[in-house]
Symmetry: C2
């Protein structure tokens, strides 16, 4: 794919690396490619970062036909730039696209587009401890038409945001509210796709949990309302004795790439990982019996979030004395060190660009 | 509310009234109002219809925090302009907004905004048989921020589209596929809200049904996959003997305004309407016993869509010889005649402007 590059004449002032906020600052350029029925994906280009002009009838505003991804680029101590699991993100973008009736992209082209844009804006990759360049590829439906159908035109775009450590004081345990009123997703729905509707559907529970003093919600399955599914927009793991439990991917759960990284690392350390459904009652029972050693969530933004407290139906339990668990910490250290080049990439997760 | 009006200097050529397509043409003006946290909704204005300028990080592109409504304006034979059930649409917009964590609007302001915009573009209201001016109010989240939270800024907009009769040859029965693989919504989710995510989630089933030769799908409940819920984006009714069955509103079903109009009209005709859950098996059983006289869907776009055939797990049944049922026709005639002023508005559904 030949990508046309138009450089900005007005580069922005870069934010201070030590006070970066997640998702607020964007770099000097963006990648755009168009899709038109018949013509396919075409006109890949890097342009100065700037606003989109869209007709108010544009379908994405009305029917949310949209998908996205999230990944990060890092600058190693030797100055190399590396992407973490870009191939997996490109593959997942296409899984989301298929579910949402959006034409799939050539996955090599997606990686090339990311690499090209990151290289153009490489001076924006922050170097301070815990920082990285967050990469947001996304697709939106652009037909100017008010009626429910799959759009015949789309934009695929990539924007970049220098981000700080998700938790400024390093990773620290969060308090989670077990949601038993609202439902995020069910089998047969769109829960496994990275599409706006899932996130919009989750806002109310997040807001209500926030008012009660919790950082996030733990989602139960939408059918029986008892099986543990996700935490906020992250996957969830429990350490019970020396075994790790995590819910299996069964259509309603996002196939987290950090989830997969955690599973592969844990297994490489000879720790048993059991991908089986378990109930919230079971989780509380593990705690009652003193077997629940760690609970943590995995996601691109925070990598590993230890869960220090869980509230369910007026019962609140404290996990691991509200301290970071040993495995949570080990996973966090290993993943971030592979990401920034301080640890060997023995799983071939890195794309050097 | 004081609405600032800026008129276009370049009015567009109006499309031919007799070949209008649904949702393709838009009028000369649009309504916009901004929301900013702290300041609330402000700066209501009518402007020349034109593109929005939005940062690529705008939240609606990523997290689908968006709501919309659909209603119609009609010109009566005497030249009056009337809106159909505008108050109910304004109320439902707020129900959707609440579920999606979008600040609610003053419902009187919404009606005033619609009335003002329709009056500015009143020459666009088509007069041919079966035509109307479709009104699309919608709200989108506009924070330039890549992170999952409720936005702190929004746009409320209204656009107008002159539309033809949904079915060019009058109402004619459609073939429907009973969907048993994909799920649209479950209790605890967002199914009752008019928000993009529900429509995006429905596309795949619609596309697959289309490939099999069906116009739309009939959705079953997402929990037991047996109760009848909706047809496409419409509510569904069955006439069994002289009784009418329709699924009750239990969180996963959109509270259709045409649904409510149909129920109120039927009851005013002394026809029993039973809002109770029924299974797809029950529906096929009614057919087997020769009791299923009519099945029809209700929605703003088509008003009444008779269903002529239903396919479920390799069984296809033909309903009422694939002809329009007597009650379907009577409802269609009554609702459209109230809408265009040819029948008395005994339910106070009309807002004259």
């Amino acid at each position: 794919m030949e990508i046309r590059i138009t450089r900005t004449r007005n580069p922005k002032k870069k934010p201070d690396e030590n006070s970066l906020v997640f998702g607020h600052d964007f770099t000097d350029h963006m990648f755009i490619m168009n899709y038109t029925q018949g013509e396919g994906w075409h006109d890949p280009r890097v342009e100065p970062y700037g606003p989109l002009q869209l007709d108010p009838s544009t379908m994405v505003f009305h029917y949310a036909q949209e998908t996205f991804e999230g990944l990060k680029a890092y600058k190693t101590d030797s100055g190399d730039i590396q992407l973490f699991r870009a191939k997996d993100n490109a593959a997942r973008l296409n899984q989301s696209n298929e579910r949402m009736c959006i034409p799939t992209l050539d996955e090599e082209d997606v990686i090339q587009a990311i690499a090209t844009l990151v290289k153009v804006d490489q001076d924006w990759i922050p170097k301070a401890e815990g920082t990285s360049l967050y990469i947001r590829p996304f697709v939106i439906a652009t037909d100017p038409f008010v009626g429910v159908k799959a759009s015949s035109t789309y934009l695929f775009m990539i924007i970049l945001s220098p981000v700080g450590a998700y938790y400024k004081e390093g990773i620290s345990p969060v308090k989670i509210y077990v949601e038993d009123k609202y439902v995020r997703a069910v089998p047969g729905g769109i829960g496994f796709a990275k599409t706006g509707g899932n996130y919009a559907a989750s806002l109310m529970a997040q807001v209500e949990a926030g008012k009660k003093g919790y950082s996030q919600v733990l989602w139960l399955d939408g059918i029986e309302r008892k099986y543990v599914e996700e935490v906020g927009t992250s996957n969830v793991f429990c350490r019970v004795g020396n075994k790790i439990y995590t819910p299996p991917l069964q259509g309603s759960i996002l196939s987290g790439i950090t989830r997969d990284s955690a599973i592969k690392l844990l297994r490489s350390w000879d720790i048993e990982v059991i991908e089986e459904r378990f109930t919230i009652e079971q989780l509380f029972e593990w705690h009652r019996k003193g077997e629940l050693q760690e609970v943590f969530a995995t996601g691109t933004a925070a990598v590993i979030s230890p869960i220090g407290a869980l509230s369910w139906q007026d019962n609140e339990i404290t996990i691991n004395n509200n301290e970071i668990g040993q495995l949570s910490q080990r996973l966090y250290n290993s993943i971030t060190k592979i990401q920034n080049g301080q640890l060997e990439d023995s799983f071939s997760w890195i794309t050097s660009i």
